[in-house]
Symmetry: C2
Subunit: 334 residues, 2 copies
């Protein structure tokens, strides 16, 4: 990943160190929406590292994902080494689209990818403004503001878009803790839904994501990924974690409590404008100065190139981190 990308994504403490060379260590990384309480890593058999991933192992992962995400039997599902690479492939599913609408502001990789593939991309404020766009892209719940468009409304939108020969993309990277927000059980035609493994399970380094779509669309993505797309250890860890609904239920409850606690701290520094159980969005005119003050205190949060009044905060883990964040936010002016 080139450094210029890293500066505007979160998750790279090397970037934080470059920006704030005098900050105290260890850094507290709140720059992502990755669960800081990871799913416990199971023992991984040596064969998962040594052998090519086998059909049976891929099937076990996909079966676990179908159950966890409530994928209809009629739908296809493709596992990939991270959602990012699926985002990069989506323009293959609508090669002739002249108008692509991204509901935003949102995660920047969607607009970037469609533009890179040669499409005209416009940002729209809500799905109703999609008008006659052939491709509509929505992150739901949205990143960074957590706005949720109800599945029933998206199902209707998907039908409309299918009727005009288009494509609806719904990125559910942050839907795991809120099953009711998911469009997966109601998958409309001409719709691709993305799910991410690493954020909820706190295992972003594993690189594992899924696309759920009608079988013909899913097959285009699978063909482009080719065989053995997902690493053996990722198949093993993913199947175990996705097959553990008890862990998910407990994590959803605990992270919601963390998010509420975080809102309590952030409310002193500005307006909490939403988020999910894995990140909260702060709006304040002082955001650039606050980013700097937090950085100098060794706390790395997510800023946005085109939304200078916003900062996104991931969840602190452990009382030391909470205390350091509390202290850094106490000072009212930088």
């Amino acid at each position: 990943m080139a450094m210029h990308q890293a500066i505007w994504h979160g998750g790279d403490i090397g970037t934080a160190r470059t920006l704030f060379p005098d900050a105290p260590e260890p850094w507290i990384d709140l720059s992502t929406g990755i669960n800081p309480y990871s799913y416990p890593l199971p023992d991984i058999p040596a064969s998962a590292w040594q052998r090519l991933p086998a059909c049976a192992e891929e099937t076990a992962l996909v079966d676990a994902a179908r159950a966890a995400y409530r994928v209809p039997a009629r739908a296809g599902i493709v596992a990939a080494p991270g959602t990012q690479i699926l985002i990069e492939l989506l323009p293959l599913l609508a090669p002739g689209a002249t108008r692509v609408a991204v509901v935003g502001p949102t995660y920047g990789e969607h607009a970037r990818t469609w533009r890179k593939a040669g499409h005209a991309v416009e940002e729209i404020a809500e799905p109703a403004a999609a008008d006659a766009a052939q491709v509509v892209v929505l992150v739901n719940p949205n990143n960074p503001d957590g706005r949720i468009v109800p599945p029933a409304r998206l199902a209707a939108l998907g039908q409309d878009i299918a009727a005009r020969g288009g494509l609806l993309v719904v990125d559910e990277a942050f839907a795991d803790f809120d099953g009711d927000a998911s469009l997966v059980p109601f998958l409309p035609p001409a719709t691709v839904i993305l799910r991410s493994f690493g954020k909820t399970y706190g295992l972003a380094g594993v690189r594992l994501g899924f696309a759920i779509a009608e079988p013909t669309l899913a097959q285009v993505l699978a063909d482009r990924l080719g065989p053995w797309a997902v690493a053996g250890p990722a198949l093993h860890v993913g199947a175990r974690a996705l097959g553990d609904p008890d862990w998910l239920r407990t994590a959803a409850r605990d992270r919601a409590a963390d998010a509420a606690r975080l809102d309590g701290l952030l409310g002193r520094a500005g307006r909490v404008a939403g988020g999910t159980s894995l990140f909260r969005l702060l709006e304040t005119a002082e955001a650039p100065a606050l980013f700097d003050r937090l950085g100098r205190a060794g706390i790395y949060v997510r800023r946005f190139q085109d939304q200078p009044h916003r900062l996104r905060f991931g969840l602190p883990a452990g009382e030391t981190a909470w205390a350091r964040l509390d202290a850094a936010l106490q000072v009212n002016r930088p």
Copy 2:
């Protein structure tokens, strides 16, 4: 991976079990060219699983790969989650090519991918027959026969192809044990060289491969993979293993000895028609019957859909495996 693909690739013991349900366990898998003596897995820090792969970690891997493969400073290099996905992306580098020539018979994924992307693909017997093809694809050393085209000849070919605005693809998946066979130090223009991590190091489940090319070509591939393409554990294991030339030297010597021993056994069943230190190619009119006989004895080898007189054998590991192979080959007629 769909079952119909698995039947003609190696490496999936589930497929072998389906083909030969009564075979004795454990299976001896000789169906791949993966080193059965894996690089010892280092301890992997929890952060490699939990965090997004960081720039510094990717840089460490790429630096180790540059040194191991002797990549010229002027050249670009891209790390990917397996060579397969790079093969799938190569048609992006020559979108207008009307004639693609693959030197064969060889690894089938190259022709399959270019055809899938809509190109006319012809198989040619040697690079000199490339004629005016815009794209020439060569596996060097070749899989399955081990034929090596000297780098000096390929460098000249690359210059010719560059002069006519084409692309040369050299897949060096099996070049690690024979540094003199590599074109990397002499990288011509308009040339992409692929290197695979998993075969030599016996860690195919890790999914790690590289493309080496002039920076503009490498950037097209990097852009399409997007950020965080390689998993954290793969970055860690890959950097460690590629930075260990002593292990590579010992493995090259030991696997060459295994290959010579394997030739001794195979010579009784037909003609050894070449190979590398990780696999040997047997030619015999009895190949289909021998495939069945070995399968019924729990030994899975690689057959070829369009070359029914050939079988490819990976290296046995351990005296039990050698003895079982020896016994299964003793019977001269099926």
